[in-house]
Symmetry: C2
Amino acid sequence: MTVTPVRYSERMETIAKRYFSYNEIHRTVSALAREILASGFEPDVTVAIGTGGFIPARILKTFLKKPILTVGVKLYNDDNQMGEGPKKVQWIDEVERKLRGKRVLLIDEVDDSRTTLAYCLRELLSHHPAEIGVAVLHCKDKAKCDQFPPEITRYWVGQHLQDIWVVYPWDAEDIDAHERNIQAMHLGAGSPASIPLA
Amino acid sequence: MTVTPVRYSERMETIAKRYFSYNEIHRTVSALAREILASGFEPDVTVAIGTGGFIPARILKTFLKKPILTVGVKLYNDDNQMGEGPKKVQWIDEVERKLRGKRVLLIDEVDDSRTTLAYCLRELLSHHPAEIGVAVLHCKDKAKCDQFPPEITRYWVGQHLQDIWVVYPWDAEDIDAHERNIQAMHLGAGSPASIPLA
């Protein structure tokens, strides 16, 4: 009697999620790095938004060879509910000295509602950097809850996605099951929603 | 006339290096997490040593579900030469409030000379945490240049390695070439030096 809903749930998961492998992420960061370098923007420092930006930022360092500062921002409560707004978990100490007059590249994994990115940009701009560029692995093409400050004119997106459920490899409790989900997705089990727009 | 030295160089690289895939790293972190959880040590917070500890720490968060603070420590100069000692690139602001009385798990990718780990442990201990445990993906079994303070009684190693050249996936300029090197290594192109001890 309980078999049908379980199967249904499994099928929903197959349809609704887009699984990324580490190597695919690595290739996306590599392409982002080439775009950033080709643009003529030369950051002095990368600022990674934690914890989603840690892995993209560390990979990007291989190509840009710039130091990484990190900021920790929490958009959700511990029970995974949206809080009243982003909260700082960790912020850069001696920010003034580190960012004033510097060219900063802010990096995160995904531009979803844009809330966290816009919040971080306003905070960082208050410390008078020379310029801030923004890079994300993925941008979900959807209505945004916030917008970038007008000072931000450089924005790089590794890949545009529909508003789907993105599953990053670092969130996998079983990386081998994650790989099998990727294989199943590539075999056509996914709906058009799992195909990136660009 | 130049063919022979190029081939020799390629062969040397095959022999001397141990390449790790992201998925292998992920499995090692998963096993580390199981050991840490089984030990009864329940950290309040993870402190990642940047930039090598960023990726292991982010993966570990999937299993331990604890916030990550980061510290940036630079052991080498920009020209990749050993400096006079570790230098702080970023340190935790409001450290006292965040670490005093807390159970801390310090994480880095490799215990090589032990210099960076020992330095960070002394710094963190000065802020009076309740306890600090240490976890690394890899420990090179070699003479160490420094030692852990006596307060440190919990130390988890994902894998012990000989004193070989470890190549992490996040350092790959070409992740597909990195994968081919892993395949070649598994096909037996590597010497015994590339086989982990445990």
